[in-house]
Amino acid sequence: MKSPSTPESSESVDRVIHEVDGIQEYDNKLPNWWLYTLYGAIAFAACYWYWFETARLGASPVEAYQAEMDRAAADQAMALTVGDATPEALAALAKDPNATALGKQVFVSTCAACHRADGGGSVGPNLTDEFWLHGSAPERIYRTIASGVPDKGMPAWQPQLGALKTQAVTAYVLGLVGTNVSGGKAPQGEREPISAR
């Protein structure tokens, strides 16, 4: 409580007013900056409450999130930063060393947990043999990676990795096919020889 500083009321500095068990108490005035901090915080609290809760002028976290997602959807429709994942485009990427290098990087950090670093498979299927659960065509592989197979535990990766990395890792996986690494997981799914592609 701020006191008007009249000379007779503002107790002269450092006057002992009480004593108990040898401990004395002064009754000094509260520092002004401390009082302004207190008043400022209270005023801010009132304004903040009014703005966000009473008048609802500011966006709540959920509303802000919705707005961000709407903006993102609009941006995505506007700009196609990478080409469409057509079979031809994917086949071309598979021959592009820059793309497969990026793909390998993504594979090792993201896919290796289930498919092993060399693609031989552990939790997930072997990617280096000629047997396929969801198709071996470039666009089928791309779709499996991008949209996932939720029922089998394969997450949809495009939302996390983005289109570019998803295509790059597809290109890298295309290069694994037929490498038949040793110690790989037993074949699963249909046989689709490389020559048939």
Binding site: A41, F44, S60, Q76, D151, L161
Partner: protein, 791 residues
């Protein structure tokens, strides 16, 4: 009366006829100090072990000593054993002197001391065994909770009885803080710990609160455990020992009054700042944030009164280890109470929540404020009670510097680690994809900081050991030298009628202003500013009127109140209750509307959830996806209230050492979870998760599952009698389905093991299912359909 005790004070006005002799009980404070030093070293040793486990996973050597079980032991030991015993020592020692009376009952003091140590020992035994309620800082199971409540009541009786027998009319500011502590901790502990035990001789119980209600109650408790267990009693101790040690008068009595009442009134509202950007209703989040900001000045009021009391005495601070610890402790308090409001801003919390920044924040408070205030008090008190000088002042100085350096290393490590990881989680590419899509990348990046934290914590522990040695050599375990004083018994004087105190201008004004402002906050956009302006004008003129009246003479209002212990206690209790009632009651009466869709866990999933809680998985994994794009890209849609409505207790978590699990169900195959639980690093290189291979050998007690569901049905989870009767059969069927699928992939585990149950639970997270459905329809089953095979 011994000449050695400088705290002894003889009333020179006492004429021999009136004077009575009082011998203070100093054995009790000495005992509490010895216990505090011992448990402090134990608790911090466990802290160093868990820090090592975070930096280097192989340190999880055994199931009972894995991080998830030791972390609750560390927090409980430091908060309730180290700081608990320290505040009891300070309260028992200083209250007798401030009240000029021996503690009312030596028997109650003994029950309090030994009862509290018994509680601690039972915590040390039960927590590593995985017996836990799964509520942070309130993990202890119900029989221990009851013991805590009883011991606290003994403490309260002893304390208030001493007040009733006091020979000093006016209560000093330290006593105000002790009163607020004792009243509030009792309320917090009892309300938060309400749980329904599972019948049949187990220690297991379930919180009566579920989902968002439990979140609100839990953090109302958790935050105010910080406020009323780690802060207010230690402020009281500061108000006694700091001016004593400095030999300087307290800077400002009126600052004491204002910051005391503001602190206890405002603190209690701030709990929801632990739940910012979660599914908690927005109004509660906003209340938590704005009250946290308003808490800044009241907190700093305590720091100011401490530091300004040292004015003119700084040369003494350079020489006396006691004052060094006090000055640094109060400074750390100022830092932590500035950081707290900062972290309570919604956008700052968006970055810092779930990261190590929070860990750094609590440790700047626990190590800097609590640990240093404890050290200062011990170095001051043990020589005086033992009747000989401190064994080694240089060793105490060394403790100070090692401790300070340790805290700084710890804090800097956690700031860097928290901000780095928070930034990495939210780093996105222009197309919205994550820059660090695998969680473990963000953990590997901060690994060096975990080693630095380990170093800082170890240095601090070393300082504690030095203190323990120094104090034992001084006489911590020796017989105390008793202090005898002569006091003048209080004369019976006519009192102001209590109605005149309760309905005095300052109280009526406070209630009216807060009431009108509260109505303003609850009313619509047009009425609200009017109410707030009216509240402001009433407040302004009221204050001016009271000050005018005061200048015309008569004892100041607060001085009257200080002489009335019962009134003071009731009023401080009401000030504390206001915030709790305003926030928690609406949450308890309003059920979230969407809850109608939610389905409770199946029997095996429930067993898996109990394993999840017993292993302390919640200490590293949240189950609360916040509405932020970088977060939903990583984890899935924002969590809703309905999803956790049947979670007793809630498992939203407070820290992500590993990723969020709210939508873990169906993300990976059962085999992934099996291999990951057996050896996390086989699946995720660089993970620091403890291995859980032992879950494959631990059998479930499925006879008990029905009892558990029965207990949960009592607190509002809609299990039918059929569900309860068929629990065992359903659990076996679901377990069998999971185990046989795993067996096909070459992983052999029995269907009634904790391993299978926890996999069933993890696969359920974020999914909805009908209770008691046949396994083939269960969510955790992933029979590949013919169509999928054909693709």
């Amino acid at each position: 009366m011994t000449s050695i005790a400088p705290t002894a004070d003889v009333r020179d006005v006492a004429s021999p006829a009136q004077a009575a002799r009082v011998i203070y009980d100093d054995t009790t404070p000495m005992r509490f100090m010895a216990a505090s030093v011992l448990w402090g070293i134990v608790g911090m040793l466990v802290g160093v072990v868990v820090a090592l486990q975070l930096a280097w996973a192989p340190a999880n050597v055994h199931a009972t000593l894995s991080f998830g079980r030791l972390r609750p032991l560390h927090t409980n030991a430091v908060i309730f054993a180290f700081v608990g015993n320290m505040i009891f020592a300070g309260i028992y020692h200083s209250s007798q002197r401030l009240l000029k009376a021996r503690t009312a009952s030596d028997v109650l003091s003994k029950i309090h001391f030994w009862g509290w140590q018994l509680v601690i020992v039972s915590a040390v035994v039960t927590l590593p065994l995985g017996l836990t309620q799964g509520k942070e800082y309130a993990e202890l199971e119900w029989p221990i909770d009851i013991a805590i409540a009883l011991v606290w009541v003994v403490f309260a009786i002893n304390f208030f009885w001493t007040i009733a027998r006091r020979n000093e009319k006016h209560l000093y500011v330290a006593i105000w803080f002790y009163i607020a502590t004792i009243v509030t901790v009792a309320i917090l502990h009892i309300v938060n710990s309400l749980a329904i035990p599972v019948i049949g001789g187990t220690l297991k119980s379930y919180s009566v609160y579920g989902g968002a209600q439990d979140a609100l109650v839990q953090w109302w408790y958790g935050h105010n455990a910080v406020a009323f267990f780690l802060t207010t009693p230690v402020l009281g101790i500061m108000y006694y020992y700091l001016p004593k040690a400095a030999g300087r008068p307290v800077y400002s009595y009126r600052l004491s009054i204002i910051h005391f009442w503001a602190l206890i009134f405002v603190y209690i509202w701030a709990g929801p700042h632990h739940l910012l950007n979660t599914a908690l209703p927005d109004w509660a989040q906003t209340l938590g944030m704005i009250f946290s900001l308003m808490l800044w000045a009241p907190s700093w009021g305590g720091m100011l009164n401490g530091l300004l009391t040292l004015r003119g005495g700084w040369s003494k601070v350079r020489e006396d280890p006691v004052l060094k610890f006090f000055a640094a402790g109060v400074t750390f308090y100022g830092m932590a109470t500035f950081e707290g409001p900062l972290l309570s801003i919604k956008s700052v919390s968006g970055l810092a929540h779930y990261t190590d920044w929070i860990i750094g924040h609590v440790h700047s408070g626990a190590l800097g404020w609590n640990g240093f205030m404890a050290a200062g008090m011990f170095y001051f008190l043990v020589p005086r009670l033992a009747g000989r000088p401190l064994h080694s002042r240089r060793l105490a100085d060394l403790h100070f510097w090692i401790g300070t350096f340790g805290i700084l290393l710890y804090m800097v490590a956690m700031w860097v680690s928290g901000v780095s990881q928070g930034m990495m989680w939210r780093a996105t590419n222009p197309d919205g994809s994550l820059m660090y899509p695998t969680f473990v990348e963000t953990l590997i990046a901060i690994r060096p900081m975990y080693w630095m934290r380990l170093l800082g914590g170890s240095l601090y522990l070393l300082g504690m050991v030095l203190m323990g040695y120094n104090l034992v050599r001084t006489g911590l375990t020796a017989k105390v030298v008793e202090t005898e004083v002569s006091v003048v018994p209080l004369a019976r004087t006519p009192e102001v009628p209590w109605r005149d105190v309760v309905f005095s201008k300052p109280i009526v004004l406070t209630v009216v202003v807060l009431g009108v402002a509260g109505v303003g906050m609850a009313s619509n956009a047009f009425a609200s500013p009017l109410f707030l302006i009216v509240a402001f004008v009433i407040g302004l003129f009221g204050v001016l009127a009271i000050q005018h009246a005061r200048r015309s003479g008569g004892p100041p209002f607060h001085r009257i109140l200080e002489g009335r212990a019962l009134l003071f206690t009731v009023l401080s209790g009401l000030a504390v209750l206001a915030g709790g009632v305003a926030e928690i009651v609406p949450a308890l009466v309003v059920k979230p509307v969407e809850a109608v869709d939610a389905k409770p866990y199946r029997a095996l999933e429930l067993e898996g959830r109990d394993v999840f809680i017993a292993e302390g998985c919640y200490t590293c994994h949240s189950q609360m996806i916040r509405p932020m794009r970088f977060e939903t890209v990583r984890y899935g849609d924002p969590s809703t209230l309905a999803e956790s409505v049947f979670d007793h207790p809630f498992q939203w978590g407070s820290k992500r050492t590993g990723p969020d699990l709210a939508r873990e169900g169906g993300k990976y195959p059962d085999l992934w979870h099996y291999r990951h639980l057996v050896d996390p690093r086989a699946i995720t290189q660089g993970s620091n998760m403890p291995p859980y291979a032992h879950l494959s050998d631990a059998r479930l007690d499925l006879e008990r599952t029905g009892d558990k569901m029965h207990a949960l049905s009592k607190v509002g989870v809609p299990y039918t009698d059929g569900d309860i009767r068929g629990a065992q059969e359903d659990a076996r069927a679901q377990g069998h389905a999971i185990a046989s699928e795993l067996a096909k992939e070459g992983a052999h585990v029995e269907p009634d093991t904790q391993m299978v149950a926890v996999i069933a639970y993890l696969q359920r997270l974020g999914k909805k299912t009908e209770p008691g459905t046949r396994p083939a329809d269960g969510v955790s089953m992933k029979e590949p359909s013919a169509e999928e095979n054909a693709r």
